[in-house]
């Protein structure tokens, strides 16, 4: 039987033709987006003209006229807005780099502690994570700033905490190496010592694997190196302990209360999320690895360090990326505390110059670039710990 309608000769109506619909849908979407963009942009230019402003970045060369409370670069109110933004950015970097280290340390400690045999340690870690994850970050920052640090610095007194740390309304003073030539020499010596020690360690492992030897000479060298390192650390760096002189402190490093509370709040908050990530990562390692390690005679500390944690790192590091980016973005809450980071400085610039669009574009660019750099570094780290397949 022949059918009168041959499917290959029938023309498909154009609205059911897949190739046409693909191009048509994209063209329509592009048209809609461009139209909406044009309307908004037209409104923007009209409103800006009415307010008498143009879109340019020349205001960055004007004098800023406002003061920035703290910073590592020198800054005067007669400097330009551009320099003010740069100082704000260095403040942000100062906060997030130390925050990365502190949050990671706290997170790893709390994550590993949730697997401890000790019931108290496990419970404390769980309570810490549950409390921090269920309260807003801004509330925690306010708590650290107003309740903890203001509470510690009562009135005009200088409170002394254990470990030679002084807290007052002017800030927190901690012991810090002095800025002498000997300090820099000791720092270089410590770095060289660390590199040499890692080389000796690798040599010792190689000797123990290939020759079955005990590796005693290398072990003595390592012990000697660590003693030397300890001596350099204690005495070569030239630690300055703050003293109370005339109701003021001398010596040591002074950080503002705002910096201290931002650091504490961000570190504890991100640390709880990192603890959950570490816990999930360690749980993802199959139980057989633990059992095999115990069968080989490794106690649980060695098993965690040599067998389980390196495998857990493969799962942990991709999630760490998003937590670090969250820390960088959450540092913008410094506006509420009064710490002059890039966001707060940009806000002051916006309020003074009225250049809303330019300043907001600058902020967006800064944060997007920071996120990109963090992601790039973490992706490199990720590549290091992934399984190397052929």
């Amino acid at each position: 039987m022949t059918s009168s309608t041959d499917p290959s000769s029938e023309k498909i109506p154009i609205w059911r033709d897949e190739r046409f619909m693909r191009i048509a849908v994209q063209a329509i979407v592009l048209l809609v987006v461009i139209t909406i963009g044009a309307i908004l942009f037209g409104n923007l230019t009209r409103n800006l003209q009415q307010l008498g402003r143009q879109f340019d970045f020349n205001f960055l060369r004007n004098q800023s006229g406002f003061n920035i409370g703290e910073g590592i670069l020198s800054y005067q109110p007669t400097d330009t807005y551009f320099w003010a933004l740069v100082v704000g950015f260095t403040n942000t970097l100062r906060l997030i780099f130390v925050g990365f280290v502190a949050a990671t340390t706290l997170g790893i400690l709390a994550g590993v502690a949730s697997f401890s045999d000790n019931w108290l340690v496990k419970k404390i870690s769980q309570i810490y994570v549950e409390i921090v994850r269920n309260t807003p970050l801004l509330l925690q920052l306010f708590f650290w700033y107003f309740a903890v640090f203001f509470g510690l610095s009562q009135g005009a007194n200088i409170t002394r905490l254990p470990g030679s740390v002084f807290v007052s309304k002017k800030g927190i003073v901690i012991p810090w190496p002095a800025n002498q030539p000997l300090t820099w020499l000791s720092l270089i010596a410590l770095i060289l010592l660390a590199i040499a020690a890692s080389l000796v360690w690798r040599q010792r492992t190689k000797v123990m694997e290939e020759q079955g030897a005990a590796g005693k000479p290398q072990q003595y060298m390592l012990i000697g190196m660590s003693v030397a390192g300890l001596l350099i650390f204690l005495f070569g760096l030239g630690w300055e302990f703050p003293q109370v002189v005339n109701n003021d402190t001398q010596g040591g490093l002074r950080v503002s209360l705002e910096y201290g509370s931002m650091l504490a709040g961000l570190a504890f908050y991100t640390g709880a999320f990192i603890a959950e990530i570490v816990r999930a990562g360690i749980q993802s390692v199959s139980k057989g690895q633990w059992e095999a390690a115990r069968a080989l005679g490794l106690h649980s500390g060695l098993a965690m360090r040599l067998v389980v944690f390196p495998q857990a790192l493969r799962v942990i590091i991709p999630s760490l990326n998003s937590q670090y980016i969250n820390l960088a973005k959450n540092s913008s809450l410094a506006l509420a505390i009064g710490y002059p980071d890039i966001f707060a400085t940009a806000q002051t610039t916006l309020n003074q110059t009225g250049r809303a669009v330019e300043v907001i574009l600058l902020i967006m660019l800064t944060y997007l670039t920071t996120d990109l750099i963090i992601s790039l570094v973490m992706n490199q780290l990720n590549r290091l710990v992934q399984i190397k397949e052929r």
Binding site: Q26, L48, F343, A356
Partner: protein, 403 residues
């Protein structure tokens, strides 16, 4: 004759039955753990003791009962509180009814833990430092909720078709709640600047999550799409919004939205904040739903194509229902974090729960009472978020067992 070698078996270790055995097993099982336990007990003991002595003597808790209405409803006019009570009763009743209908197949809906939870709530309501008739009203609302749970289960078992009408009922309830809060059409108008405290927080988070949901689905589908224009537009939007802090999005909404609109229009501040939160939440929803979409095996799409379904039908009938069911726990997690992120609107000038605490602390009577106020607000947020994450875990367990 071969002799059977029996492997000597040791008796299994007895579980720690006495308190001393438990202590030895869990706290003192090695010298390092013993040292750790002693150190922790000492430090914890000192901290707790210091906290308790502060809480009972130096802390002045008067600031909380005196400002309880401000914490919960902001500067809502006091003679219109009946509208908020009515709204609470309607929402609690419909919520209980929905719970009963949805859980009608469970053999025992009112478990012992749930009843204990309700009992604790009743105790807390009984001890609230408000007037006695008001406490009775709140207890009546709680009893009404429990009653609606029971009624919902009965009605759901008799006529299961009622489950289809529930979404419509919720939409209607939202508009009724909006009318009760805003006023107009016969009620006194309460401007949005008078909204504040807990009610504003809940309102903003619920509206943002509900509005961001369809946007998130569209963005997720767009990011998966094979059409390059749509793929790049959606990816650019998601990556840019996820890369900048929420507070800058709120400031964009505050400062730049009036510039983008025709001159002279002054959109409501609450509306601008909700717009910012919605845009932010939509990007994160898109990532969550994308995870759900990626978990659907490709065979589903191929089978749908083999059956002759085109792309919209495939998505709507086959892929999306499965993907959304997988992502529901993550979406609840998003709601919890959005609830916490609404505290940021305090920086743009709205008086949500955290913002209104600043104005309470500015009162000369309560200057310096930071710790008490922040502990109270923290406890409120903690309780709500913990209950929601517990519910999300239970929901996830229930959804998983149905496969």
């Amino acid at each position: 004759m071969t002799t059977l070698h029996t492997v000597p078996t040791s008796a299994p270790s007895k579980p720690a039955s006495t308190p001393t055995a438990w202590l030895r097993k869990n706290l003192f099982n090695s010298w390092f753990n013993s040292l750790l336990t002693i150190a922790i007990v000492l430090i914890l003991g000192r901290t707790l003791f210091g906290f308790i002595s502060w809480a009972t003597s130096a802390a002045k808790w008067q600031v909380i009962p005196a400002n309880l209405p401000i914490f919960f409803v902001g500067r809502f006019p006091a003679d219109q509180y009946w509208r908020l009570d009515l709204m609470l009763a309607i929402i609690a009743g419909l919520g209980g009814f929905t719970w009963g209908v949805v859980g009608r197949n469970q053999p025992k809906l009112l478990t012992r833990n749930l009843l204990i939870g309700f009992g604790i709530l009743a105790l807390v309501l009984l001890l609230l430092p408000t007037s006695f008739p008001y406490r009775l009203v709140l207890l009546a609302i709680e009893a009404f909720t429990i009653g609606m749970i029971v009624i919902g289960k009965q009605v759901g078992n008799r006529s299961p078709a009622i489950a289809q009408w529930l979404p419509l009922a919720w939409v209607l309830t939202f508009f009724i709640a909006l009318w009760l809060m805003r006023g107009g059409f016969g009620l006194d108008v309460v401007p949005t600047t008078a909204w504040g405290g807990w009610i504003l927080t809940i309102f903003m988070s619920v509206v943002s999550i509900v509005l961001s949901f369809p946007f998130g689905v569209l963005l997720a589908l767009g990011r998966q799409s094979s059409l390059p224009v749509i793929h790049w537009l959606c990816t650019a939007y998601i990556e840019i919004i996820r890369g900048i802090p929420l507070i800058s999005i709120l400031f964009i909404g505050l400062v730049m939205v009036p510039l983008f609109l025709p001159a002279g229009s002054r959109p409501d501040l609450v509306l601008r904040a909700i717009l910012g939160l919605t845009l932010f939440a939509a990007a994160y929803q898109a990532e969550t739903i994308r995870g759900g979409l990626q978990a659907i095996p490709k065979g589903q799409t191929e089978a749908a194509n083999a059956l002759g379904l085109n792309t919209p039908l495939t998505l709507g009938l086959i892929v999306l229902p499965q993907a959304l069911k997988i992502s529901i726990p993550a979406i609840v997690g998003l709601f919890i974090s959005l609830l916490q992120d609404t505290t940021l609107v305090a920086i743009v000038g709205l008086s949500d729960l955290l913002g209104i605490s600043r104005s309470i602390l500015a009162n000369p009577l309560y200057i310096g009472r930071y710790a008490e106020v922040y502990l109270f607000i923290g406890a409120l947020y903690w309780a709500v978020c913990y209950i929601m994450s517990w519910a999300a875990r239970r929901l996830e367990a229930r959804l998983n067992s149905e496969h």
